[in-house]
Subunit: 153 residues, 2 copies
């Protein structure tokens, strides 16, 4: 995916309501199984057969795999100059991610709260929806990011 280099953003460049959109990324069956073997080896993340009779019905990605891909799309689409550094996050998975899904990330700044003790930074709350190719939301992430002013680092 070739895209023009994005402007690197500092705290002064951000505002509530600002939106970011990533390019697409496909997640395939082999990737789902590989991630599951290493980090989440439960039957419904390892094969279709293992998912029969479970809540999932057929092979579904680990939610943490969806979260990891979301992070990748974050890095690609939210060009913070000092990096995307999260202090914490709320993550919800309204639907499982299925093999072959094309994921895309849509993010919006919800709030910006300056640090009281450290005037060079703020906590920026960003709400991000990870959607599949049908527009269905597979993950909602509300992350608290530590963002620095120009020249702080």
């Amino acid at each position: 995916m070739l895209r023009p280099p994005a402007k690197r953003l500092y705290l002064e460049d951000l505002y509530v309501g600002q939106r970011f959109c990533s390019g697409p990324q496909i997640i395939d069956e082999a990737q789902i199984k590989k991630f599951a073997i290493e980090f989440d080896p439960q039957p419904f993340h390892l094969s279709d057969d293992g998912a029969v009779g479970t809540l999932f019905g057929s092979l579904a990605a680990s939610g943490w795999h969806t979260a990891a891909i979301t992070m990748r799309l974050y890095v690609d689409s939210v060009p913070l100059a000092d990096g995307v550094i999260g202090a914490g996050a709320q993550v919800d998975w309204p639907k499982p991610t299925r093999p072959g899904a094309t994921l895309q990330l849509f993010s919006e700044i919800v709030s910006i709260v300056p640090s009281r003790s450290r005037p060079d930074r703020a906590i920026v709350e960003m709400r991000s929806e990870t959607r599949d190719e049908h527009g269905e939301v597979v993950q909602v992430l509300t992350a608290k990011l530590i963002v620095f002013k120009r020249g702080a680092k």
Copy 2:
């Protein structure tokens, strides 16, 4: 890690205050870099040099890597009969995970809320601390798990 097979647990076997403890798992420098290249390619997750002058100072694991290892420790230590299935979670990273850390998971059931619409299941809230070998907490995860009664699935 050889451990005796744990009893497989259903909703009826769970209670508020119930605790679970995983075995240890080491996270090394190569694993940190490999995860970062695929999912979180930011300088402070890729090398010590890249972390100089950043919030981290030296190489630190992606928080999502800590979360993924936590999931692995979860699967190994919380033997839910129908699987560890999360609807969502709050995740906080009070400290970064460093190369060479030995991680261990300590979990406790915080609440059990029966589903109103589906009497065969409940939402079990589990609070889990991922600690390093010094006992320092690198992640706090409060997860909402979907847990089924015996014979539901």
